[in-house]
């Protein structure tokens, strides 16, 4: 029996870990049921644009330029992620990078070269749209100057197929803060939308207190979350912590992505904050990406609402990813 569809569950975003990041499917269920059609029409009327099915990928913490024992392979995981995305059966509309695209350098020329290398690798992605926010390793030393020169503004918003995306910068002030100017901008940006609008926020650091003594927080994150609180469909994607994590608070669900350079351990295990050692036998273990979509939206399938699932283990790792790739593509 179908689960009842309402405006809250309608836009749930389901994510799947695919070993080198995460794939998200936006869940419009358009035309799947009379209820779905009714809600889509209502959202279109209220928000100005009815949502239509699409998927997108989150990648994070590529740290181009990093070199050290936790990962002696440099950009190989990032390049593998590009291959995975290009090999997906269903091409995503969009790839979001949630910060630390590059590893910092004291030499601005060297750091600029790292940004160029990032762009060269990311430029191989066969997707229509790539969006980025900075991490502290991109923008913490110079207030984001180099990043803006290479990638444009560090905070902005855009609409895509009925979903409002908001890029937030919580690194350029050097401290883990968004800052009053950006929060004022956010409030004005949100004021244009009804509370039913589906919203995806992407940023680098967690906006809630995940682990302040590991610098896993945003000092004024509560002001951001208060601004988002009236909205019924909010998904926050972030990086920084180099591991998967899901947290729900109010109407917002927060998802952290794996890194593409090295992983941090689970702080709840009582271990110190040190990268998980590199294992040459499993060089891409614990690294990842994320893709978002709603499998139930496919034509002819039974209508269903998927809850958020970020760690479908059958898709984790390079073996599992094979299930999601086009025929003839292998890793």
């Amino acid at each position: 029996m179908d689960k009842p569809v309402n405006r809250r569950t309608f836009m749930k975003i389901a994510g799947t870990s695919i070993g080198v990041g995460a794939l998200f499917h936006v869940a419009p269920l358009l035309g799947a049921t009379p209820g779905g059609r009714r809600i889509a029409a209502l959202l279109g009327k209220e928000n100005g644009e009815a949502p239509t099915p699409f998927s997108f990928v989150q990648l994070s913490d590529t740290h181009v330029g990093f070199s050290g024992p936790p990962n002696p392979l440099g950009t190989q995981a990032f390049e593998k992620a590009v291959d995975v995305i290009n090999g997906l059966r269903e091409r995503p509309d969009l790839v979001l990078f949630t910060g630390d695209l590059t590893h910092d350098s004291e030499n601005p020329g060297e750091h600029a070269d790292r940004m160029k290398l990032f762009q060269k690798i990311a430029g191989r992605l066969k997707v229509p749209l790539i969006k980025t926010v900075p991490g502290e390793h991109d923008a913490g030393l110079d207030g984001g100057k180099l990043f803006r020169d290479a990638f444009g503004e560090t905070h902005y918003s855009f609409d895509h197929r009925g979903v409002h995306f908001i890029a937030l910068d919580n690194v350029s002030l050097a401290r883990p803060n968004v800052g009053p100017e950006q929060i004022s901008w956010l409030k004005k940006d949100l004021a244009r939308f009804p509370t039913t609008a589906p919203i995806v926020v992407f940023t680098h650091r967690p906006l809630f207190d995940l682990r302040p003594d590991w610098e896993w927080f945003t000092g004024d994150g509560d002001e951001v979350l208060n601004a988002l609180a009236p909205y019924e469909n909010v998904t926050v994607l972030y990086g920084h912590i180099h591991r998967e994590h899901t947290h729900t608070e109010g109407h917002a669900t927060h998802h952290a992505a794996r890194s593409l350079i090295f992983a941090y351990p689970d702080p709840e295990t009582g271990v110190p904050k040190k990268p998980i050692p590199f294992d040459p036998q499993k060089p891409f273990q614990n690294l990842g990406l994320r893709v978002v979509n709603e499998p139930g939206a496919r034509a002819g399938s039974s209508p269903q609402i998927k809850e958020v699932e970020l760690t479908l283990r059958e898709y984790s790792g390079t073996v599992g990813i094979q299930q999601m790739l086009k025929e003839g593509v292998s890793l």
Partner: protein, 117 residues
């Protein structure tokens, strides 16, 4: 040169010094902490629960942060300036203060262990 030696001696003794104010009240014990890329010196300090202590904190190279939420410490350390932060720990335990002003590639592991007995 002599002045520098006296100053160095004072700084050395600061963690164990107490003094009296003009009205005779005992001044809090001073604990000196220096921030530099990518460490705090010393790396561990020990306080006593209920004891008021004056943390004398400075940076000797670039701007660092000094953040320890359980003691409500949240400040930047600008080179050339010394900050005095008075705290009275109310709970025993081991806490971690961090630099939360990005200072370079080793920033993520720049921490100070604060033991409250």
């Amino acid at each position: 040169m002599k002045y520098a030696r006296v100053l160095a001696l004072l700084l050395l003794l600061a963690p164990i010094m107490t003094a009296r104010t003009a009205d005779g009240a005992e001044e809090p014990r001073a604990v000196v902490v220096t921030a530099k890329r990518f460490e705090f010196v010393p790396s561990t300090i020990t306080l006593k629960k209920g004891e008021t202590v004056k943390l004398v904190v400075k940076s000797e190279d670039v701007t660092h942060g000094f953040f320890l939420r359980p003691l409500k410490i949240d400040t930047d350390l600008t080179p050339g300036e010394t900050q005095q932060i008075t705290v009275t720990p109310q709970s025993a335990g081991t806490f971690t203060a961090i630099c939360h002003h990005f200072c370079g590639s080793g920033h993520g592991n720049m921490k100070l262990t604060v033991v409250v007995e």
